[in-house]
């Protein structure tokens, strides 16, 4: 079911085309139903070097359920919490707890450990919830994360020392 949905023009083909337009390499693991995208954001100061980021998306049960999006360790892909996340500017989906907080992010829902107990039904994620972000396709969601990363001001916490 998920694979059939992904093959629809507005999902994986559009996401891959979106990445190509921006010169990005979006990787899709068909067996694991997973996406990965490396991004670069500004450093914390104008003198600081750019910060590397990696976004991971787990597509199991998409699009009945929203994608499990995370920023992960850009070196290893490991879950490292807030250190993986860019520090946002303005109205943002990037929560200070190290969470992508949007109706299209499965981990934002309280039933999945997120902070939104007011969002009850995971299957209702495509219903617009003004004034929240509306991003019904993979590429819309990636575009939002891309733009927030590019507008960020360094990462939320320093990367841990690599093992």
């Amino acid at each position: 079911m998920t694979r059939a949905i992904l093959e629809q023009p507005e999902h994986l083909p559009a996401a891959l085309a979106w990445a190509r337009r921006l010169g990005l390499e979006l990787r899709f693991d068909e067996e694991e139903l997973a996406l990965e995208l490396n991004l670069t954001g500004p450093g914390a100061t104008t003198e600081a070097p750019p910060e590397p980021y990696r976004i991971s998306g787990l597509l199991e049960d998409f699009d009945v359920l929203p994608i499990i999006w995370r920023y992960v360790d850009p070196r290893s892909g490991a879950n490292i919490g807030v250190a993986a996340y860019p520090r946002p500017t303005g109205s943002s989906v990037l929560h200070g707890n190290g969470l992508i907080c949007a109706p299209w992010s499965r981990l934002a829902y309280a039933v999945e450990g997120g902070i939104h107990s007011d969002w009850q039904d995971l299957t209702d994620w495509k219903t617009p919830r003004p004034p929240y972000t509306f991003a019904p396709t993979i590429a819309d969601q990636l575009d939002r994360l891309y733009r927030e990363t590019r507008a960020s001001t360094g990462r939320m916490a320093a990367l841990p020392v690599a093992a």
Binding site: E10, S92, H95, P130, T133, F134, A139, R147
Partner: protein
């Protein structure tokens, strides 16, 4: 209408290419340079089949102010823009 007048009238219109993340192909629009970014974005969103949201337009990395006229937001004839949603999170 004289040729000179015709040219002046043409300059009031911007011929723009807009990409939407959900579509592999862009669409083109001819908009008055005085149209608000938000209104233009709403028209583009409808054309691409977005049912709702808070659409705006981005020129490169810069997301344009929905309240500004296209010309005031720095949009120029022939530009390529991206449709984005600026709804909030958290």
């Amino acid at each position: 209408m004289s040729e000179e007048h015709g040219q002046r009238a043409e300059k009031q219109t911007l011929h723009l290419t807009v990409y939407a993340p959900k579509s592999t192909e862009p669409k083109t629009f001819d908009w008055s340079k005085h149209l608000a970014v938000g209104e233009a974005a709403a028209e583009a969103a409808a054309a691409f089949g977005y049912a709702s949201g808070t659409p705006s337009l981005a020129k490169g990395d810069e997301v344009l102010d929905r309240a500004k006229q296209l010309v005031a937001a720095g949009v120029r004839d022939g530009d390529t823009l991206t449709l984005v949603d600026v709804g909030g999170g958290v």
